[in-house]
Subunit: 301 residues, 2 copies
């Protein structure tokens, strides 16, 4: 009988989630033949699962409202994935179909790209840069976490749009990758002697800051106090946050552009793959601490 691995949400973490304390790995056998489906249900065999920083935000007390609902204690941690339907009680979804199968057939890229450059992180990059940032050719853009699932796409689109691209990352392999992507300036923020407060004090007059996340603040009870917000006034800065979910009606133009750039070789995408659900909790922690490199994907045998 096939076994089904899962990660259960055990307790709300204060800081970084710990396997055994906040997450628990479970293995259950599943009898597919006799598995009973409710009306409209489908049973999916996962091939790829996505690990994303926003998932940490779901590991919270459910009484705290946010843009995405809290995980339920005792239940499996949810995420986006790609899989094949092995059983269906829903006329819209036939056995053997892959979710997104129709869309995928139009593209000749790894399936996992639909969790990355052609999925939510890619769209975060696309919307954040184009719609929120509204870049003009010749401007300079600074990207933090520039080799990450979102950052690497932002930087490459920015190059396509004629911007001067400066990126930072946390180790030298990531920096080398950014150089390969022809970023105009790159530096390792862990080893360079830069001001702690680089972002605001080094911005130009009328600069725009586009904020899609603040991963360094997700796992701490003592959030960092930003002390130079006064620059917002003196430098006429605009800081704008956004959530990609609000912009999903623009999926078509996003997919069209990314598809074209991938085909033309103007856009590359670096993934960080782990095999098997049993390695997902560690990979998730690596994602939160910056030890991963590129879009985090769990491959399932």
């Amino acid at each position: 009988m096939p076994s089904n691995h899962g990660v259960i949400f055990k307790a709300v973490p204060d800081g970084y989630p710990v396997l055994g304390e906040h997450m628990e790995l479970v293995t259950r056998e599943i009898d597919i033949e006799n598995f009973s489906l409710g009306d409209g249900d489908i049973l999916v065999k996962n091939q790829y699962l996505s690990l994303d920083p926003y998932m940490r935000g779901r590991m919270r007390n459910p009484n705290i409202k946010s843009y995405v609902k809290a995980f339920e204690l005792g239940k499996v941690l949810e995420g986006s994935g790609i899989g094949t339907i092995v059983k269906s009680n829903n006329k819209k979804y036939q056995v053997g179909n892959e979710h997104l199968a129709k869309e995928m057939s139009k593209f000749n890229f790894p399936k996992s790209y639909f969790l990355g450059v052609l999925g939510m992180p890619g769209m975060t990059a696309y919307v954040g840069l184009n719609k929120i940032g509204k870049p003009k050719k010749g401007e300079t853009i600074f990207i933090s976490a520039a080799s990450g699932a979102v950052g690497q796409v932002v930087g490459q689109i920015a190059k396509i749009k004629g911007l001067r691209v400066i990126g930072t990352a946390s180790n030298d392999s990531k920096i080398k990758y950014l150089e390969e992507l022809n970023f105009d300036g790159v530096f390792n923020y862990k080893t360079c002697n830069i001001d702690e407060v680089i972002v605001l004090t080094h911005l130009n007059i009328n600069a725009r800051v586009v904020a899609c996340g603040m991963i360094s603040q997700y796992n701490t009870k003592a959030p960092y106090g930003v002390k130079n917000l006064l620059c917002v006034v003196s430098k006429r800065i605009t800081i704008q946050g956004f959530i990609v979910f609000d912009h999903y009606h623009e999926t078509e133009s996003f997919r069209k552009d990314i598809d074209e750039w991938l085909k033309q070789g103007k856009l590359k995408y670096k993934e960080d793959n782990v095999e098997g659900i049993q390695n997902a909790p560690e990979a998730f922690l690596n994602l939160l601490t910056g030890k991963n490199f590129g879009k985090e994907i769990v491959k399932i045998c």
Copy 2:
């Protein structure tokens, strides 16, 4: 011989400026009849001087660049004023004329209004609300320092535009004034039990924050660390700073609107007057600590 009082910039303050240490009161006699003017110079007898928070930003090391030049050590502290020309070596400015005289003749308000509601602070309110904030009827606006030179104008224009106006100030007389202005909600932030972090955590989704200054941060070596900036992402907040100087090309529409609202009684303006330059340093300090109430104006005999 008439005497001329002045306040000299003696030293760059770290915190609040102290009279005697960073500012010095001087009195000089001036022989108007024999006073020699350079080519193009005029000699003005001041009637009103304006004290404004941005002046604190000019009391800095001149090597630090900002949107307005640093005061020169050893020279008189400068500010906006209204006066009469008593001697002129400039064909454009005739003796007896008041600066802004032509514009003033169109309006029937106290002259000092040109330093307040019809001047830089009023325009900060007007531009910040209309052009940066872009309010829509029915929205709620929260105003800090709501009885100040800028805040009281923001709140009243917001009422005219059909907004729900919430304001905060530092004592009960100010709160009473805000009630008289028909603000929809007012509270004394010194005595109310509000969250220290009210602004960001209590904002609505898609809120806009318009920042024209951060007076609490002008006189400290230990700036306040804002720890809840993550709300900018989760609540899709936009924070935008601006400097009114960048918008002076819109003076005409500003004056036209304010003039009309003043005439219709829709707009009131509270001034805090002190008499004589010798009282200006203390009034300036009161302005920085929030002990003043309304637009700070120095009347000169």
